[in-house]
Subunit: 129 residues, 2 copies
């Protein structure tokens, strides 16, 4: 059940970040990897969750209101959201976010679109570098 | 409902990454922020999910077997896992991971412990810098 499928890490990481083919076609070779802007998890009470996370982990509060908070970690951010406001998701930054659907401008001024992966997960594709 | 709570971003980010107090006590001021090692999302079929993600986003396959895969993005990693193998979670690296519970050595040689935030979310605390 757990036989590893051979992946030549060095080769794929250094030269061909994305070599999985689709319908036999060779994939394009991106010059750089995409960035995960944030991970969003549902919490019933934002203030209580901020207290829980900031009292245990080394992170800083970038934004906080009654409906969501954004905590900065060293390499990405954690959003604490009310489930009725946002789905559990993670967000990627893409210069071509508009190719994934119609972008919506949020109250923080950022443009993004939510897409589904077909496996039950939501992904926010944000317009960004 | 959406009144922002005043957060002086610049001050908190630059000098006091973690200033939320617990029971009136001032919090320690960490010298650096914790790193989010990976985000793990459940998928019913790992190979299909790898195909879906790698054909749409700029990422590279670091590991792949029948039960999980690890995709590297620019700043963190995305784990695609079977729900019966791993819960949906995100993982933090901490030198003092053992303070969060008894560490378990996984088949990749890394030590970690899963904790619950009490709001329905799982966090993997990994031993690491």
């Amino acid at each position: 059940m757990k036989r590893p499928i051979e992946v030549n890490k060095k080769r794929m990481a250094a030269k061909e970040p994305n070599t999985v083919t689709k319908r036999g076609k060779p994939m394009s070779k991106p010059s750089k990897l995409d960035t995960i802007h944030h991970v969003a998890i549902p919490v019933p009470n934002v203030a209580q969750a901020v207290e829980w996370y900031t009292s245990r982990f080394n992170c800083c509060v970038e934004y906080l209101d009654d409906t969501w908070a954004l905590l900065a970690f060293a390499n990405t951010k954690l959003a604490l959201v009310l489930p009725q406001e946002h789905p559990s998701h993670f967000a990627l930054s893409r210069p071509d976010a508009n190719k994934f659907g119609n972008l919506v401008t949020h109250r923080d001024g950022l443009n993004s679109v939510y897409i589904a992966d077909g496996f039950g997960n939501s992904i926010e594709v944000m317009e960004g570098p």
